[in-house]
């Protein structure tokens, strides 16, 4: 990581705010550090965009699934589903990449077309050109599938700690199950679930291979989530690594450093929030 600092120094704040990635080779065949520009703004925006899409899609599903598993499921179904979801957390990321590329891409395109047809008045869903394959939306879908197991198991853990006496009190007052959840379980688990969501966000930001296979990486800040252009710091590192010169590798190290700091902040916050759960609430 030390190597990354030198690039950060020479490129300064430009590294975070510009979205050029150009290694200029001078006459002697050496890379000219003055003329070369490295910026990861597009990749940073893309990373956040894809991760947020993943969270927006994945979290309602995971929290709903956790509620079902904790409060509704019969014992036998619960056991099977819990092991299935835990198993999914251990699937290799390259598998998600291939599955996303060959299977999810098709149905993702269908949804993307529907969304752009009926919701193009929302700026995010506008399509500058009719290309919807390999868009941030589909990468977000794949990441949503990848974070579902984590968020589900953390939420389940937290919901299962709901104090039994409060639950029984809610039922004894004549509440339905939904009333109990709203009055007891949600307030109790709220902060813990926020933490779980942030852990999912951290994982979605650092994912490399799966995003690389399904996303069309373009060096341009793109806010149109359905359009076939996006970015991701981790995938960019992988993409550029094979062909990179030593100086460029230093720039990639710097990108890795930024990613590391970003995920570290998100994860530390998440862990802090999760460990505080249960002290709040009614």
């Amino acid at each position: 990581m030390f190597n990354g600092f030198s690039t950060l120094k020479t490129q300064g704040m430009h590294f975070l705010t510009s979205s050029n990635w150009q290694a200029v080779v001078s006459d002697s065949g050496q890379i000219d550090p003055k003329a070369s520009h490295f910026g990861i703004a597009a990749m940073l925006v893309g990373t956040m965009l894809v991760a947020v899409i993943a969270v927006v899609i994945g979290v309602p599903i995971s929290v709903g699934a956790a509620i079902y598993l904790t409060f509704y499921a019969p014992e036998a179904i619960k056991k099977i589903m819990v092991s299935a979801i835990d198993l999914m957390a251990a699937f290799p990321s390259v598998l998600f990449g291939l599955w996303g590329f060959f299977v999810l891409e098709a149905s993702g395109e269908y949804w993307a077309k529907l969304l752009s047809k009926y919701f193009s008045w929302i700026p995010f869903f506008k399509l500058p050109a009719p290309y919807v394959t390999r868009s941030p939306f589909i990468a977000g879908l794949v990441l949503a599938v990848m974070i579902i197991p984590i968020v589900t198991s953390i939420s389940r853990e937290i919901f299962s700690q709901t104090p039994l006496d409060r639950m029984q009190a809610a039922y004894a007052l004549g509440g339905t199950r939904f009333a109990m959840l709203r009055a007891v379980a949600f307030p109790y688990a709220r902060s813990g679930i926020v933490g779980g969501i942030m852990l999912g966000l951290g994982r979605a930001m650092g994912e490399t291979v799966a995003v690389y296979t399904v996303l069309n990486i373009v060096y341009q800040v793109n806010w149109h989530i359905l359009f076939s252009a996006g970015g991701n710091v981790a995938s960019m590192i992988l993409l550029k690594f094979g062909e990179a010169s030593p100086y460029e590798i230093k720039a990639l190290m710097a990108a890795g450093l930024v990613l590391f700091i970003l995920t570290l902040i998100v994860n530390s916050l998440a862990n802090l929030i999760v460990s505080r759960t249960g002290k709040s609430g009614r």
Partner: protein, 353 residues
Amino acid sequence: MSTIEKVPTPSPRKPWAATPIDRAKTAGILAAAIVVSVIVLALTPLSGKLAFAAVFFVAYLIIDFAVSFAKAGRAAAVDSVFRGLVTTAIAIAVMPIISILVTVWIRGHHGLHWTLFTMDMHSNSFTDPVGQGGLLHAIIGTFLLVIVAMIISVPIGILTALYLTEVRGRFTRPIEFLVQAMSGVPSIVAGLFIYAAILIPFTKTVNGIQGSLALAILMIPTVARTSQEVLKLIPEDLREAGVALGGTQWRSVALVVVPAARSGLITAMILGVARVAGETAPILLLTGGSGTKNFNVFSGSLGSLPNYVWQAFSAGTPESITRAWAGILVLLVIVVILFTAARILGNRKVGKK
């Protein structure tokens, strides 16, 4: 001695269980929703399985709400709709798992041949017909990488967990925090770190041990956290008994606590292995991907399953894609076996020898 008169035990009753009338009602709502969605699909330009699922979902919720509202009022209706929502959520959450398993089997089993496990790729390319060449080198490589990573990370992980639960020294809080933060490190960052710390200054070339080191970085937090959870479950009595018998802390930990937690610690180890066995990004940076068998982790490019899948996928022809799916299938089977083993061991009661 009088004989005890046998009183027939009353059969247990569950007043909250679903009655036949309830079941009939649910079935009726489901049937009505199906009918409605078929009609909607026939009348509107919507078509396809997805549209059907979406319409069915909305129709079910509306009908369910109406029926419950008519029967028991608003609170019950909301409750029943919420039940429908969370059931849908779990169905959606489980769908990708089934889809992934089915896809891997359907696309991968064409690529399964005996040669897969007896040959390597040194005289074949990925675009050759599927029967030629295999992934023996990749299986060997993955096993070597994982075993070396295990040798490095398991002692560190378990000792960390012991420090956190048994020693409870001054650095417990910061170390706990560090372990938790490390468990979120993106795999590519671990790869880059080893690249910057070892490959650039020292080796300047790819080899297996670098990959193992990167995997160890990813594995240590998993092992440490799971071991910590297991060690927390060991009853305090055992530790106190060990100390009461005059043992030092070292002896009571080594001879009482660790043996009692043995199966749990093995589970932690296996979960760590399952976590890293399919890790791709650091492998792509650090180990290279040779097609020949290489038993030496310290020198030479080392092929591995994720790398094989990646190369085959990148080659892009139908044959190579089939190879990629077959490789994924093998990798998935390894992960599932490891995971099931961890489950079986973990379900045993902690503290039993």
